[in-house]
């Protein structure tokens, strides 16, 4: 699982570190990546796809003006796609973190994306049974982190990150600012430290949207 939506919240330094390792060692590869999008431009997840680390994408929205890396790999059959409605994707990840193996949603009932899934009538309306999503790792970007792993996020960079932190066995965070335990107001903590395993201090993180607009290519 990799945080971010559109050009906001992508943990680019973590992703690019992973790409570096793959290019040096050949690992990790054949990854299943869960993210709302399937990469933009030539950085981040798009770069992971281009260098060949990704076997499967689980996402809600792949189409964008510059998702060329995914499109090429998809049409070549090199990458598998599981398309999930965005709200269902979010809820499946939350369910993975919350110990809920399945739930019912009205979303996608009667559409191709519900094909083969159990359906059930509740109070006269039809719903689709969806299953939880979990991951071995979550890579996310935070604004502040304290030494016990409590996190805050900046504006809409929050998006999927708090859910992914819950649903992954190991959550790795890049934070713009790492502070001592006690420096984040307990009321303002968005992700409690129980969901966080490793915090890396990245004081000047890249912004995906700005890099895509600048035409930057990674790896």
């Amino acid at each position: 699982m990799i945080g971010g939506f559109g050009g906001s919240g992508a943990p680019l330094e973590l992703i690019h570190g992973l790409i570096d390792r793959f290019l040096e060692t050949g690992h990790p590869k054949d990854l299943t990546v869960i993210n709302n999008n399937a990469g933009n431009g030539s950085i981040g997840i798009a770069a992971m796809i281009r260098v060949g680390m990704v076997r499967k994408m689980i996402c809600s929205f792949r189409r964008s003006s510059n998702a060329d890396a995914f499109n090429a790999a998809y049409h070549d059959g090199q990458i598998e796609l599981e398309l999930v409605p965005q709200g269902t994707l979010a809820e499946r990840i939350r369910a993975g973190g919350a110990g809920i193996p399945a739930f019912f949603t009205p979303t996608a009932f009667g559409t191709d994306l519900a094909k083969g899934k159990p359906t059930q009538d509740f109070e006269g309306k039809m719903y689709v049974q969806e299953r939880w999503l979990k991951a071995d790792y979550a890579l996310i970007k935070a604004e502040s982190a304290d030494t016990v792993g409590n996190l805050t996020y900046r504006m809409a960079a929050r998006n999927f990150a708090p859910l992914m932190a819950m649903a992954a066995a190991t959550t790795i965070v890049q934070a713009r600012r790492v502070v001592q335990a006690g420096e984040i107001d307990p009321h303002s903590v968005i992700t409690p430290g129980i969901f966080v395993d490793h915090v890396i201090d990245i004081p000047n993180p890249s912004q995906e949207e700005a890099m895509v607009r600048a035409g930057i290519v990674y790896a």
Binding site: L83, G87, R94, A108, R158, P162
Partner: protein, 224 residues
């Protein structure tokens, strides 16, 4: 004969007139987003975006964008007083839980029973669904804003959709370049039409019966 028709901005203007003071609204990417700029004065409308903002405002001046402050269309926005941030599960709890008063989406096709097709043009494309399948089941009212016909002139309002569905029986009103049409138990009901067009003119480019139930108003829209 070329039919007189509304521009995209004029369709957006018309849709904006129906948004009530105090409403919570989600506007889909593309044409629906333009509705916000025609919000009638004196009404307070709170806009929701799937990626976790309630109460965002217009785009900032070029060069002043903050790319952590974007809408679901990846466009930079600003905040209105009283805005809030939340994560994606809470955002779709608002959607699915019926807390939005209105969602407005684009459409490839709309059927007379309210079925909507707006996410896939078939097997050859790389499909993308985003939040549309959630929005059509969550908001109290689901409206569509679209040209009345497709680029090749074929009708978009049909007895039954031929493209993959986004949702079944979910759309309640359609704003087109020619008309405003409600979806009722009887099917399409014509409410407004562009002045100078007859009901037959609109029916001729519609793929299902247009019912008449009460007065059909002239769609008088300013140049915008």
């Amino acid at each position: 004969m070329t039919l007189p028709k509304l521009t995209s901005s004029q369709i957006a203007w018309r849709a904006a007139q129906d948004i009530e003071d105090g409403a919570y609204v989600n506007l889909g990417i593309g044409l629906p987003e333009r509705i916000a700029q025609f919000q009638p004065e004196g009404r307070t409308v709170t806009y929701h975006t799937e990626n976790g903002i309630l109460g965002f405002g217009q785009a900032p001046p070029e060069g002043e964008e903050d790319w952590d402050l974007i809408n679901a269309g990846k466009k930079a926005v600003t905040l209105e007083p009283g805005a809030s941030f939340f994560h994606h599960a809470d955002s779709f709890a608002m959607v699915r839980g019926g807390h939005l008063d209105l969602a407005v989406l684009g459409a490839y096709q709309v059927a007379a029973n309210g079925d909507l097709a707006n996410w896939s043009v078939g097997a050859k494309s790389v499909p993308a669904v985003g939040g549309a399948m959630d929005l059509v089941h969550g908001a109290k009212r689901v409206a569509v804003i679209t040209d009345h016909v497709a680029k090749d002139g074929s009708p978009k309002l049909l007895d039954a959709c031929t493209l993959p569905l986004t949702g079944k029986a979910c759309v309640t009103r359609v704003y087109t370049s020619l008309a405003v049409i409600d979806i009722t138990d009887r099917g399409f009901v014509l409410r407004d039409k562009v002045p100078g067009l007859s009901v037959d003119d609109v029916q001729a480019v519609t793929g299902a019966t247009l019912h008449i139930d009460g007065p059909v108003c002239d769609l008088n829209v300013p140049e915008v």
